[in-house]
């Protein structure tokens, strides 16, 4: 039996691997399915060794068809299983979009609460790894806009370990975003206990301005806050963790203190997650805002060739620039 990993520092990829292993041990109905998840252990090795230990019936190399992966997961869920589907890269979730939006998200409602869809859809997302087209996208807003789905993103090994287990245990379907550029970044130890799945977390307290981020941009926000601190500006950084539902109480509480908010994400700006947060914050904290909610994000273009991604993606300079702007109001 796999134990809590204890003090051992883990990479995010390894933390996910151990979280998956724990979930499979805890519940024999948990299955992993996707392209290359078996012997290869996935292209990022997140499922490394699981097929060896749990067998081909529980860690399933599927045919190369995303609609088939999600659609058969729906059938497995009807039969009582809890499938964890791996989508190899963000840009390849779209062939499965119909099954996700019209079946996974709607079956529980269609059945008036009689059929649950405890399906977890894991998606390595985001850029910064020098990849080719379709391998660096951030499609979270599509899923957040879809009623019936919940959407989360982990940003560090400990959350990765716990959140993947919580997602698998959730009776609602969850789209689980993994910041691929952090898979093998810093190692850290797993916390002793899980934090509530759909709760945001203040990861750096501050009083001058709130920076909200999730997934790969949390590290960027923290670095920006460290840089700003050198200039005597205290930024509060919140790791959103759950994109849908949003934990507005945590966000509003912070904004009421700081009066200023910047949302950071890699996805294109327009109609993205930042828009919803801005809309809600101005609804719910209208009189607290001393400046408009600003967004630092990818631009409204196709994701650029990788040689341009560092400029295109939000970076410390652009975040600090937005901080200046916000404080200038």
């Amino acid at each position: 039996m796999s134990e809590h990993p204890g003090e051992r520092p883990l990479t995010m990829a390894k933390a996910l691997n151990e979280g998956l292993r724990k979930a499979m041990e805890d519940d024999p109905k948990v299955l992993i399915m996707g392209e290359d998840v078996g012997k290869l252990g996935g292209v990022f090795r997140v499922t490394d060794g699981l097929q060896k230990d749990f067998g081909e019936d529980r860690v399933i190399d599927t045919p190369l068809a995303e609609s088939g992966i999600i659609g058969t997961a729906v059938g497995l869920a009807i039969r009582g299983y809890r499938p964890v589907c791996e989508i190899q890269f963000d840009g390849f979730v779209f062939p499965g979009f119909d099954q996700i939006v019209s079946q996974v998200a709607k079956m529980y409602n269609r059945s008036a609460g009689l059929v649950k869809m405890p399906i977890t859809i894991r998606i390595p997302f985001g850029g910064g790894i020098g990849a080719v087209e379709h391998h660096s996208e951030s499609p979270e807003a599509y899923f957040a806009h879809t009623a019936g789905l919940k959407v989360v993103a982990c940003s560090n090994p400990s959350d990765a370990y716990w959140m993947i287990q919580q997602s698998i245990a959730s009776d609602d379907p969850i789209v689980f975003f993994e910041p691929k550029r952090r898979y093998h970044a810093a190692k850290s130890a797993v916390e002793a206990e899980a934090y509530p799945l759909h709760q945001a977390r203040v990861v750096r307290p501050g009083s001058d301005l709130t920076v909200l981020a999730y997934g790969p941009m949390v590290a960027m926000a923290l670095e920006s806050a460290a840089a700003a601190a050198e200039d005597g500006r205290e930024l509060e950084v919140i790791d959103l963790r759950s994109i849908s539902p949003l934990d507005m109480p945590t966000v509003i509480e912070s904004v009421q203190r700081t009066g200023r908010l910047i949302v950071v994400h890699e996805a294109p700006r327009s109609f993205g997650v930042g828009a919803e947060i801005a809309a809600r914050v101005q609804e719910q904290a209208f009189y607290s805002l001393e400046a408009p909610v600003l967004r630092v994000s990818g631009f409204d273009t196709v994701y650029p060739p990788s040689r341009l991604e560092n400029e295109w993606l939000p970076n410390i300079d652009r975040i600090l620039d937005a901080v200046d702007q916000s404080l200038g109001y």
């Binding site: 019936d57 659609g71 009807i78 119909d98 529980y108 009689l114 959730s170 009776d171 507005m248």
Partner: protein, 374 residues
């Protein structure tokens, strides 16, 4: 344009065990041991299913249903397939399998909510091992395939234990055969040698598109390219449908893998009550198919060959009337859901933000009511 689309290939042989004239015929691969009483029981299904359909159409005309997708002409395909299932087998319908629902023991009223607009399905697929209707064309074939993956993982195939071994039956139409999902379900089913039988009702039309828009070769042939058998049956022959589906399900339960059955039949009514066939097909086509009516041939058989007494037919008429009344009264009694119920069941664990929307909405509804009554 000089480019010519070659003519569609001629109709292939199809399994038929009862001719349009009501003659039993034998088929070497599909012998069917069946008593006249059992044929009479199938006749009863056919008649009652047609009655359900007729009542639903009438209810739609009266404004009690928003829409209805008629199965007229497809009763034999559906009743044969439905009666071939064992209790613990699972069926995945489209939106037109009222006859299969009947055979599974689903109360016809359970089907009406969707068409009345009082729910979106709303019944438990496990109650009768019959999934809710699926409207997105082809999507359910993947669900059936995934369910069959679960059956295999449960060790419920090829054990030889008839109470344990389980098969899955996936319905779809001729139009659906073009969808990626249907073809992906063939891939998954074949690669996993899964206990799923694909049952395609080729009713010749996908709304206004004739089957030739989808394929110029018979649809049952699709299966062989994926590595499993396919077969065409006379879809208006309830005995052929029963015998062939039963055998296919048996094979599936015995770990022989998937099969595709193409039931060659005809959608005698418009696509739905919204549709207008005059825009795209000839009356003469309808007339030809009327001669192959799936019920008339069983009636002819029973009248001529079987010693089914007149009482059976009068009883059935009575039963049909009672059923009709059940449907009419039951349909009218299907209440509108409460507005607040729109907020239920999007999530198992309702997020706070949705709870707030619900509460605001409830408050708003109350305030409007107060205003109106004030």
């Amino acid at each position: 344009m000089t480019h010519q689309v070659p003519a569609v290939q001629p109709e292939p042989d199809m399994v038929q065990l009862l001719t349009p004239e009501g003659q039993r015929v034998e088929h070497p691969d599909y012998p069917l041991d069946i008593t006249d009483e059992q044929i009479a029981a199938l006749y009863r299904d056919l008649v009652l299913v047609r009655r359900i359909d007729a009542e639903a159409i009438a209810l739609q005309r009266q404004g009690e249903l928003g829409l209805w997708a008629s199965l007229l002409g497809q009763e034999a395909a559906q009743v044969g397939a439905g009666r071939a299932l064992k209790k613990h087998d699972m069926a995945f319908p489209t939106y037109r399998e009222h006859g299969v629902a009947w055979c599974r023991g689903v109360d016809p009223l359970s089907l009406l909510g969707l068409f009345r607009g009082t729910n979106l399905g709303g019944f438990n697929p496990h109650d009768h091992n019959f999934n809710m209707y699926t409207i997105v064309i082809g999507a359910q074939t993947l669900h059936a395939t995934g369910y069959a993956m679960g059956v295999v993982r449960d060790g419920a195939v090829g054990t030889g234990d008839p109470d344990r071994d389980t098969a899955v039956l996936a319905f779809f139409g001729d139009g659906a055969s073009s969808q990626g999902d249907v073809n992906e379900s063939f891939v998954f089913a074949a690669a996993g040698n899964l206990p799923v039988v694909f049952f395609c009702q080729n009713n010749q039309w996908a709304i206004s598109e004739p089957v030739t828009t989808q394929s110029r070769v018979p649809l049952y042939k699709r299966a062989s390219g994926f590595g499993f058998p396919g077969l065409r049956i006379d879809g208006n022959d309830v005995l052929a449908s029963l015998a062939v589906t039963r055998k296919a399900l048996d094979d599936a339960r015995n770990a022989q893998g998937p099969m595709l059955i193409e039931a060659f039949t005809y959608r005698m009514n418009p696509h739905t009550t919204n549709d207008d066939t005059r825009r795209y097909r000839l009356d003469s086509e309808d007339e030809t198919w009327k001669l192959k009516d799936p019920i008339a041939r069983v009636k002819a058989y029973l009248a001529r060959e079987a010693k089914i007494g007149a009482e059976f037919f009068t009883d059935l008429e009575q039963e049909s009337k009672v059923l009709a009344e059940h449907i009419r009264a039951g349909c009218r009694a299907l209440a509108n859901p409460s507005p607040e119920s729109a907020f239920e069941h999007t999530y198992v664990d309702m997020p706070d933000e949705l709870r707030e929307q619900r509460d605001e909405f409830a408050e708003f509804v109350t305030s409007i009511e107060e205003e109106v009554s004030a």
